[in-house]
């Protein structure tokens, strides 16, 4: 067996190992309903703020600067309360989409990592002609 073959074999083994390690720790995209079926499993859900709640975001840094609670709904119209154990992200109110990564515990979606929330960058609103039109008329 040639040395290059050994090197290649080792590499293939390494690649498989790496892929397996990623697989072992994968999460999947779910809806709020299907996430409820899998309590305790880390899932990713695409949601938006539930505007039907009077105060969709609750954050009182006087009481606890490390706790943000908010209400979301997903594309199927299911709603849930989310508990995020960090400070409120800055542009949360104006987001039209929030991607959550965390676990469903009972009826509450818990996020225990800071990067468990992804909110669209403000600059990106500029690419949306509808939003830009609103700005043009409003400001």
């Amino acid at each position: 067996m040639k040395k290059t073959h050994i090197v290649l074999l080792v590499c293939i083994a390494a690649v498989i190992m790496v892929l397996l390690s990623f697989m072992g720790n994968l999460s999947t995209y779910e809806t709020l309903a299907s996430a409820r079926q899998k309590p305790g499993k880390t899932v990713t859900v695409i949601t938006q703020l539930d505007k039907s709640v009077e105060h969709p975001i609750e954050y009182d840094p006087l009481k606890n600067p490390n706790l943000t609670e908010f209400y979301v709904k997903d594309s199927l119209g299911n709603t849930a309360k989310v508990v995020y154990h960090f400070e409120k992200p800055f542009d949360m109110e104006k987001s039209d989409r929030i991607v959550l990564k965390g676990k469903m515990q009972g009826d509450v979606f818990e996020i225990t990592r800071k990067d468990g929330i992804l909110i669209k960058c403000p600059s990106k609103y500029k690419d949306d002609p509808k939003a830009a039109g609103n700005n043009l008329s409003q400001n």
Partner: protein, 819 residues
Amino acid sequence: MNSFGEHLLPGQIGHFLIILSLVASLIATIAYSKSTNALIPAEAASWKKIGRTAFVIDAFSVFGVFALIYYIISNHYMEYSYAWTHSDKSLEPKYLLSSIWEGQEGSFLLWAFWHGVIGIVLMKTSKKWEAPVMAVISFAQLCIATLLLGIFVFDLKVGSNPFILLKDSGVMSPENAPAFYSNGILRGDYLELIHRRGGQGLNQLLQNYWMVIHPPILFLGFASTIVPFAYAIAGLWTKDYGGWTKSQLPWSLFSAAILALGIMMGAKWAYESLNFGGYWAWDPVENASLVPWLIMIAGLHTQLIFNATGHSLRSTYLFYLLSFMLILYSTYLARSGDLQDTSVHAFVTSGMNWQLRIFVFAFVIPGLLMFALRYKKIPHIVKEESSWSREFWMFIGSLVLFLSSLAIIIPTSFPLFNKIFGTSLAIGEDQEFAYNRIQIFVAIIIGVITAIGQYLKYKTTNRQLFFKKLMVPTIIALIFSLIVSIFGNIDYDKYGIGYLAAIHLGIFASLYAVVANTSFIWLGLNGKLKAAGASVAHLGFSLFLLGALISSAKKEVLSVNKLNPLNFGPDQKEKGEENLTMFQGIETDMGDFWATYAKDSSTQGGKTMYFHIQMKRKDGKGEFMLVPDLIKNSKGQEGYSANPDAKHYLHKDIFTYISYADKMREGEDTSKFRPTSVAINDTVFYSSGIMILDTVQRNPANKRVQFTESDTAIMATIRVIPFNSGGKPITAQPYFYFRNNRAEYFPDTLITQGLAINLNKFAADQTFEIGVKESTRMTPFIALKVLVFPFINLVWGGVVLMLVGFVMAIVRRVKTLKA
């Protein structure tokens, strides 16, 4: 100027130049291709001449387009959509350039701009390789020009024209913006309305000096990767497979250097102005620019192997082809909108996805096809490299870099896989660790190979000499790394003992590379610094690795909140308790420091609010201020962006940003002044104490205000005695003042008591009416996070040193080529 007062000429010239560049790059592509394929030298020369002229026209058209966009933005011609969308009159002049590359069109333009510059340099320097290489670059210019075209072919939008007028862009349609229309017809003074309201402005986060320089450098890096690619295509095309690898080498070095610089400038920007608390987050858009660099470095090393020994030409071709293809792929990922659920940086879809896909495939398919068809013909040496040769270990290193890049790009592409195969894969909860636990092993292997690589000689090495020379650096590195491991308190056990061991190994490997590469300048090169480019670059890279390992593993949170810690169970050691609430003026315990939120200030108009945090060492050895700020977002996007501040030491940074400030709260304070009638010496209760009206004076001598005889000012002096103060009073002196027969009131505020007192008026019988207001809003507070990054300067310094090494290598190679 027309009846609306629009400045149409720059836009018309601009769009003409875009079309001119499209046509010119098409002609350049054809002419250079014809020149490459021509069999008769005279024919080749005449085609080449046409190609040159066409490319120069293309390049200057692009420069012209660039200049015109700048002209439009700097003159605030808001009739243009680009100026309105990306700038504003209030924008500081130094950020006007940033407005250009905030938009997709501007960044494509930047790319084409650098292709133009690079192409002109190649015309002068690439000699017999000019025709095929320039054909490839001209073709890239053609593709980019179509992305800027902005015309409709049967309802299909081709490209996006940066010179489109706001009224034509769809934003200002009668449905979107009815205010601009009367009876369905655009108002004659619409432009005036827009000017009065101003543009949308530049995103606040981009108003940072790094954002002026980072995009041009990064795009120069992107653009430069086409040179190795074009040479590889040229080699396959002309069947002169190994003829270019020596003369082209400075370009590969240049590309690797500039791309690294561009990426790390982005990292520095993220560190200085974003609040994720670091410089690298394994965000898909970051990954997508790192991966081509890793592959470029792999290709650079295999190219060196080929130049020295004749091995590894095939892999050189593969790496250089892939590097540019992955640049295109990353462009697609960042701009197609496919990443918008996984990346904070990605654009939303621009409706040009089909065009971006064609752009990618137009290079990937012919490139890979040519490589596959000619693969067997690319010369290679059947005999294996010796294990005691430099080329063998360099090749292993390149292979590891290539595998490392696969381990990054595959998970990064999950959203795309999901889209194609209908799966729903996502990286697990802990994205950073998912990457780190793999790349730590890459760091270990690369560190060790970088350390020993140069001590090996090409072909074969004298083993005794090898061990003899390497002995001293090895021992020194072992001692150093043992010292760091034992006394450095590196106890990052969040992910278990195995990962901690890997970190220690990584620190050893990078220290080994640092020591070995430094000593190689004397042991291997006898101190000839001119020839030490590689050693210096490797030294810089290993310092960077060391800094990255230590600053991440020993990153420390100072602002630990002990008042309300949260319990996430045993599997979550990192608790959500990293923000501390601080009231103004109240000293707070923070690690080695007493921290006080001393005061805040703001720029004119309140656009930026600065929070002054005084950090006093508990051991009394000095104090300093941290001034993080909040910037009000540009128009149409209410809210704030946090901008960190850091105290830089040689060996660490103390880094802080505001997570919340009560000043951000919208709306006015709702609590009201409660009126009370009091006579002199009367006592009034408030929620946490009592207050006594001592005196009321006319025009008193006072430190706060100077009154003159012609003024009528009345000031009350009130003793406030809080219950918890042990009888120690605080004095409040509200007053009012008559000017032009109107009273002006000046309440006095006692922040510590959350109390404001106003002197309202005289009442009958020597009594006065005072207003008392109690509010939590009286005491400003912030929630902030303070982090320590030890040895972060090794990260920046290492990159700078690596670049110095690259420059030294480029200078030396260019000199040898000229000699």
